[in-house]
Amino acid sequence: MLDIRNLKKSYDKKEVLHGINLVVEDGEIYGFVGHNGAGKTTTIKCVVGIQDYDDGEIYIDGVNIKDDPLRAKSITAYLPDNPDLYENLTGIQYLNFICDIFKIDKNSRSAAIETNAKEFELFDVLGDQIKGYSHGMKQKLAVISSLIHEPKLLVLDEPFVGLDPKASFIMKNKLKELCDKGGSVFFSSHVLEVVENLCNKVAIIKDGNIIKQGITEDLLSEGISLEELFLDLENNNE
């Protein structure tokens, strides 16, 4: 579903990604962990088309994102760590906007919005302006907008920040549901317990290089936790 090949990216001549290679298969939940400034968000931004990259290739469902960005974007959804939305719109106006962009017909959108909004307990405030929403409510609205068009690939940057425990639980189930239908999830997180319990595969990035990646169970086969593995790798690579 997602194939990143030798991805390199520089900011002002300083290379921050030194050739990332990573494959997320269909039906996988892939966790991406690393310390602050390791290159997680930069990698994600390159995948979803926010940032250009210097070298390498990114394929989403076999589509090179540079060759056909619209096709790649139409099957992808992105949820940033701190979703800034159109504050003057109401929740429902924002969701209608997203549905219009993804060309979702009236009946399908009605059902999708109603189901998701009720599950995330946002249905009653859909008529309110987004600027009056709390951080968690904005996060929930962004989650709904990312799920509404049933993407094949869901890319999330710190998705559980700001969500209440119930919303986090629903969110995890939604990610599993998406993968059961053949979709894939690629997300970054600092909450290692969540990554350990939720992800089929994990990659650890440090200073723009992937220092460890593989099937979660294999990586943690010796009874160590992801946290211990992460700290061990961090210390050994200094």
Binding site: Q51, K73, Y86, K106, G127, D128, G132, Y133
Partner: protein
């Protein structure tokens, strides 16, 4: 240091020294903007000083004081929303052990300090030139500086009062932005209309200019005191002005203090729909119409954006209504008195209307900050499956419509009143469309090169970004060059064809540029 001073200092620093990745460019552009406005101010001073004369009894210094008062008032209205209500630190500040009125006072002081810059530019160069011409003594300059300290306070308090009232009636309402925009436009329109009416009624039997002077003399008495103090060495008037201004400021802070905090809270909470009907809310549009309506909403739901980019066209249309419905006979007789020029009334009116519309259209640009105003939500445009071409077209089309619709109504009103021939409508509208495409595309190109996505307050983008300055200034200069060309080689339609051809070429260049280079530039913009 008192809490008020600490707060004001922090607010002012935060406002002035915003983080910028291109510090050199920012300082350079600010300096360039200041020098340019200063230059324009000097140019106008010389222009009007010759018109009014420069003896001690000249009306010139009064005219400049009235002008500076009105400009401070108008700029104050447009800035009041952003500077008194746009702040997002209210929750943080209220959690500190600071009194509410000190929070408000610090905001008002920063607002006034920033507005001083505009007043300074409108007032000082002209008064210095005038002082030099009349060989004024030391006290003239001393009182000029001392009087300046209180000068902007009254117009700014008036502006803030209107801003607060409009915000008060609109905050938390469903169509709060619409109410805010209409309310302010109605207020400004009312002032405009009353001043027209008073000027006209008092102007019967005298010249309209003289009657305006009488009205201003009667109502803007603090301006008169300021000038009289300078010219006649009357320090008493400076003291009087200062006492009145600061007393009003004190009363306003006491009176508005808690209201500003409450309105801010209400406004930040947004609109709550107590009667939300889900099924009625589900609406479907095509992608392009969605983008277009998003851009329209952005312009018409943002008071400052609308006022700074489109108010010219709105006022032009309102003035046209007034002139065509109430003053058409007077215009005809005035134009008749110009018959010695050898042209018929229709041609003169058509030329005047199209040139004024053209000039205003070149100052009407929403695109020069439209990318910047995406702000922190810019990630959405980049990650959604929309072509950059569609994004550009939607932004350009909105500006074209904002220009063309009022322009056509204006042309139509004058055309019906003064019986234009069809060719005049045709040439006029094509001319305006070409000019509208030019200013819209140029604005977008400028914003692609000078985006500012990271901001706390939209006023810093709409009023003080390099893109907003260039987007207003560059088309205006090009328009002035065309006007000079026109007046130099006045030849009715033929010259219009030449200017239209020039704009056609410029439009094609800009469109090709946006098509080829635009997406690349768009992609490089990161927030």
């Amino acid at each position: 240091m008192s809490e008020f001073l600490i707060l004001t200092k922090a607010q002012f620093k935060n406002f002035i020294f915003k983080r910028s990745s291109k510090k050199g460019l920012k300082i350079g552009s600010a300096f360039f903007t200041f020098i340019l406005l200063f230059g324009l101010s000097i140019y106008y001073a010389f222009l009007y000083i010759d018109l009014f004369g420069y003896d001690k009894s000249s009306f010139f210094p009064y005219f400049i004081a009235y002008f500076a008062f009105l400009m401070t008032f108008i700029f104050g209205i447009s800035n009041s929303q952003g500077m008194l209500f746009g702040f997002k630190d209210i929750d943080l500040l209220r959690s500190f052990p600071i009194k509410n009125h000190n929070i408000v006072l610090s905001k008002v002081i920063v607002y006034i300090l920033i507005e001083y810059i505009y007043t300074l530019l409108f007032l000082m160069p002209a008064l210095i030139i005038y002082g030099y011409r009349i060989v004024a003594g030391f006290t003239y300059y001393l009182y000029m500086v001392l009087g300046f300290i209180s000068f902007p306070i009254i117009p700014l308090l008036l502006a803030a009062t209107i801003g607060i009232f409009v915000k008060y009636i609109s905050a938390g309402k469903k169509y709060s932005n619409l109410i805010q925009n209409l309310g302010t436009i109605l207020f400004v329109g009312l002032i405009y209309f009353v001043s027209f009416k008073l000027g006209y009624s008092q102007g019967e039997g005298t010249s309209i200019d003289a009657s305006y002077a009488d009205i201003y003399f009667k109502y803007l008495f603090t301006c008169n005191w300021y000038i009289i103090a300078m010219l006649d060495n009357k320090f008493f008037y400076i003291i009087l002005n200062t006492i009145i201004a600061f007393a009003l400021l004190f009363i306003a802070i006491r009176f508005y203090g808690n209201n500003i905090i409450k309105i801010n809270e209400k406004s930040n909470l947004g609109y709550h729909n107590t009667n939300f009907q889900f099924n009625k809310s589900i609406k479907s549009k095509s992608t392009f119409v969605t983008l277009l309506s998003k851009e329209f909403k952005k312009v018409f739901s943002n008071f400052m954006y609308l006022l700074n980019t489109s108010i010219g066209m709105i006022m032009l249309m309102l003035t046209s209504f007034y002139l065509c419905f109430f003053l058409s006979d007077e215009i005809k007789s005035m134009i008749n008195s110009l018959s010695f020029l050898g042209q018929d009334i229709k041609t003169i009116i058509w030329q005047s209307v199209t040139l004024i519309v053209f000039l205003v259209s070149q100052m009407t640009c929403t695109t020069h900050v439209s990318i910047s105003l995406e702000g922190k939500a810019f990630w959405l445009l980049k990650t959604l499956p929309i072509t950059i071409k569609d994004i550009f077209i939607s932004k350009i089309l909105v500006n074209i419509m904002i220009i063309v619709v009022p322009s056509f109504i204006t042309l139509l009103l004058f055309g019906i009143t003064f019986h234009f021939e069809y060719i005049y409508y045709l040439v006029g509208i094509i001319f305006i469309i070409l000019a509208a495409i030019f200013v819209s595309c140029l604005g977008l190109v400028i914003n692609l090169y000078f985006p500012k996505l990271d901001f706390d307050n939209e006023s810093s983008v709409i009023k003080r970004s390099l893109a907003s300055f260039l987007g207003t200034f560059v088309p205006f200069v090009i328009a002035i060059i065309n006007m000079i060309l026109y007046f130099k080689f006045i030849d009715t339609l033929n010259l219009y064809y030449v200017i239209m051809f020039i704009y056609l070429i410029l439009d094609i260049i800009l469109i090709i540029y946006l098509y080829i280079k635009g997406p690349q530039r768009f992609f490089y913009i990161i927030n």
